[in-house]
């Protein structure tokens, strides 16, 4: 199992890395929402190129980003095969009585381009900030405290539980277990899962007691010393501007 180390390259040096986390979250989220609801394939493509441009500025290793962007592409790729056959429209070519429609192809590509733009932006946003800074920024943005705390704890314990799971998994594999989709394999796997749940539950008690003894009351105090500079204002205004402009342009071209 691979650790989900999204902030592996957060200590690099680039304009995006220095962008204030609060402003970064707000402007990137707006951009994502804006690009995802574009209906024109040309504008969607421009949005995707803009996302790639931001990714390039951030200087993140290409392999790191590509590995994650590829995932989304493979997930949505079947659409490109199914939709041209099922959506009716102008016939592009006719293969043995099955017509491939232009509209289906265009619609499937539009979906994939929108998704790729969104995932590129999301990776750039998270990979350029340390995860604890993202959490702090969420507090500062007045996201409900319960949710932010749950997000933080879950993220922290994913790593621990992954280790625990791998240990149990390895010891089962040592004894000759392979996970196959038959009754025996699945019910044994169910027992493993049950044990993982029990171990995690026992851990919650220990963690909770340790936290209470260090003064945890459910209302964490965060020391937030974020300050917006002129650069941050300029950058976020540009991004929000682009997010709005894309839709204004689309509305304009409709009329």
């Amino acid at each position: 199992m691979e650790y989900p180390e999204i902030d592996e390259f957060a200590s690099m040096d680039s304009p995006i890395h220095h962008f204030d986390p609060r402003a970064k979250i707000v402007s990137f989220t707006l951009l994502i929402f804006s690009f995802v609801f574009v209906n024109d394939i040309r504008i969607a493509l421009l949005g995707f190129l803009f996302s790639l441009f931001i990714l390039l500025i951030s200087g993140l290793p290409i392999g790191f980003a590509l590995k994650r962007i590829r995932m989304v592409f493979f997930f949505l790729f079947p659409l490109l095969l199914i939709m041209p056959l099922t959506v009716e429209g102008t016939e592009l070519i006719n293969i043995a009585g099955v017509s491939v429609s232009m509209e289906g192809l265009a619609y499937a590509s539009l979906i994939i381009i929108r998704a790729l733009a969104a995932v590129t932006l999301a990776i750039t946003m998270l990979a350029t900030t340390r995860f604890d800074m993202t959490i702090k920024a969420l507090y500062a943005l007045r996201v409900p405290g319960i949710l932010v705390q749950m997000l933080m704890f879950t993220y922290r314990y994913i790593f621990v539980i992954m280790d625990e799971f791998s240990r149990m998994w390895e010891s089962m594999e040592c004894k000759g277990f392979t996970l196959k989709a038959n009754y025996h394999g699945l019910s044994i796997f169910g027992n493993l899962l049950g044990m993982l749940i029990i171990k995690s539950y026992d851990r919650t008690n220990r963690v909770y007691q340790a936290m209470v003894s260090k003064g945890y009351t459910g209302k964490p105090m965060t020391l937030i010393n974020l300050r917006m500079s002129t650069k941050d204002y300029v950058l976020s205004t540009c991004m929000v501007g682009i997010a709005i402009f894309v839709h204004a342009y689309q509305l304009g071209s409709l009329w």
């Binding site: 979906i111 997000l151 799971f165």
Partner: protein, 208 residues
């Protein structure tokens, strides 16, 4: 299983966010009244982490492999807190592993969380009626997947007629997962009932 960004229409996404946020607010508020939140937060979070890790496991069937959703089991173990736990899990999943999209967290939360709540209700109701817990667990596990599949198909069709065939494909893809999760959930419930029955959200009066 999860919907990616860019597939659904604006109105479906907005409706998803509205339902998800409203349900989360109600559940968290009612939990705040009943329990000490300081104690609940670490508990729910670590359990969410466990389910998150478990859902990374891929089971291979024939040439392809499916990953587990475990929303039925999540409902059975966490009770109504399964819904906010799902929100947190999906947020992390979309940002850390790029499974599912960012704009679709709301709709995915509804798609996975509502069946989890129904699985929980079914489990409690069935347990009171005295149905064999292993069977009941299996039923809840497959119910969770079945309802998610139906909801996903409905969402796709309500976005546009173009998705009708894709919706059928999606439902078909859920059938094997339904059986797999049924067996797994049944076995987990049997195991928990034997080893640590207090982990299942059953009232004292329910215990036999």
């Amino acid at each position: 299983m999860h919907i990616s960004d860019g597939v659904l229409s604006f109105s479906v996404i907005v409706a998803g966010w509205a339902i998800a946020l409203a349900l989360n607010a109600v559940i968290l508020w009612s939990c705040k009244c009943k329990h000490n939140m300081a104690e609940e937060i670490p508990k729910i979070s670590i359990m969410t982490g466990a389910f998150f890790v478990a859902s990374l496991v891929h089971v291979s069937i024939g040439p392809t492999s499916v990953h587990l959703l475990l929303n039925g089991l999540l409902g059975v173990v966490l009770g109504i807190m399964a819904f906010p736990a799902m929100l947190v899990g999906l947020t992390l999943q979309s940002f850390l592993f790029q499974h599912g999209g960012i704009t679709t967290i709301g709709i995915n939360n509804v798609m996975m969380g509502v069946p989890a709540l129904l699985a929980y209700a079914t489990f409690r109701f069935g347990y009171r009626k005295g149905i064999n817990p292993s069977l009941l667990g299996a039923l809840c596990g497959s119910l969770g997947i079945f309802l998610s599949g139906i909801l996903l198909a409905l969402m796709l069709i309500s976005t546009g007629e173009e998705f009708r065939e894709i919706a059928y494909v999606v439902i078909m893809a859920h059938v094997p997962v339904m059986f797999i999760e049924g067996v797994i959930t049944g076995s987990v419930v049997t195991f928990l009932l034997k080893v640590r029955p207090e982990l299942l959200p059953l009232d004292k009066g329910d215990m036999r």
